[in-house]
Symmetry: C2
């Protein structure tokens, strides 16, 4: 059983170092030798644990990229029963934007980076990322619909359309921020976002 654990640990190590490099330099520009030099292991070790770079990419998206969005943007939305949904939405987006490290501001959103780098040219990656966006969208719709029942959101709001608008704005600003040198645009985005969300009620 010790071997299975060791294998698991090695795989996780490779996945984590891969995520860091994919995030920093992109999927295409990151090579297996580069990843394995970070892990301190050899290329042989890599191909013992993974079939290909593509298989690794899938794991990185499923294990790390997906979890990041879930933990910060999707799961917290489950609080819709206890909290006013307008507050909830404003709070989650604001907290997320304010939580970013300097590097995270510079490098943008890992999911959005992958979507824009390889999204449409690899159907496997595309479908995993599509599922992630759909999960996020579904959860936002659920919150907005619950808000309508609680009379916190206007009935004429198109939840699906608003959900896409919120996701687009968030991912968009994380991309646009990459060309700038400071956080001004993040706060400008947040200001308008909050006003926009309040107008849903």
């Amino acid at each position: 059983m010790k071997q299975k654990i060791k294998s698991e640990i090695t795989q996780q190590l490779i996945i984590e170092e891969s995520f860091k490099l994919f995030y920093k330099n992109g999927y295409s520009k990151t090579s297996i030798p580069e990843i394995m030099s970070k892990t301190g292991l050899s290329k042989g070790a890599f191909y013992h644990h993974f079939e290909s770079k593509h298989e690794l990419g899938k794991q990185v998206i499923k294990d790390i990229v997906r979890k990041r969005i879930y933990d910060s943007m999707i799961t917290p939305l489950n609080n819709y029963k206890k909290e006013n949904v307008i507050n909830l939405l404003c709070r989650i987006f604001t907290e997320r934007i304010k939580s970013f490290s300097i590097e995270e501001k510079r490098l943008g959103c890992p999911a959005n980076n992958l979507i824009n780098e390889i999204g449409c040219s690899d159907d496997v990656f595309r479908n995993i990322l599509k599922q992630l966006i759909n999960d996020w969208k579904s959860m936002l719709i659920k919150v907005l619909e619950e808000g309508k029942l609680k009379k916190e959101i206007k009935k004429d709001v198109n939840s699906s359309a608003v959900a896409i608008y919120l996701i687009s704005g968030f991912e968009g600003v994380r991309g646009i921020r990459k060309v700038f040198d400071d956080d001004k645009i993040l706060f400008e985005y947040l200001e308008t976002l909050k006003k926009h969300i309040h107008q849903l009620g």
Copy 2:
């Protein structure tokens, strides 16, 4: 003088084929041999006209990527004197979204793709793209401020913040659309965008 024209034509040919391939497959994944095979010319011809791939990238951004955004999203905003600015904004964003070819919907925005692929890791590219986004933002601010003077936009609107929100949403949805198979999200985006813009007045 015939030579100068020929040189200019060849350079433009290389730039145009490069744009197509950069747009379709990304900057990193596109090679000089691949570009030159499209032009029907040799690699020697390329290095006669361009210093490096990087220099080519600069030209493609300056000549084509920039022009696309200018022609469709920035220059048309100049109509703010004649047209109600709420209508103007809705119209330009709507027309642009509706004008996209199937390929343009699949491949997203060339500028946004570049920003997300190499934006933060190459200062030369980053600064050209930053200037482009800043030009767009400035023009939107101008239109919104003019709208205030014309009493078409509320005085408490933060023009700079709204401008960034509009750009982010637009670029964001063009990225997000890449993981989907249909145009539903583009129209959902447009629906919410229009409502949002109308609430500025």
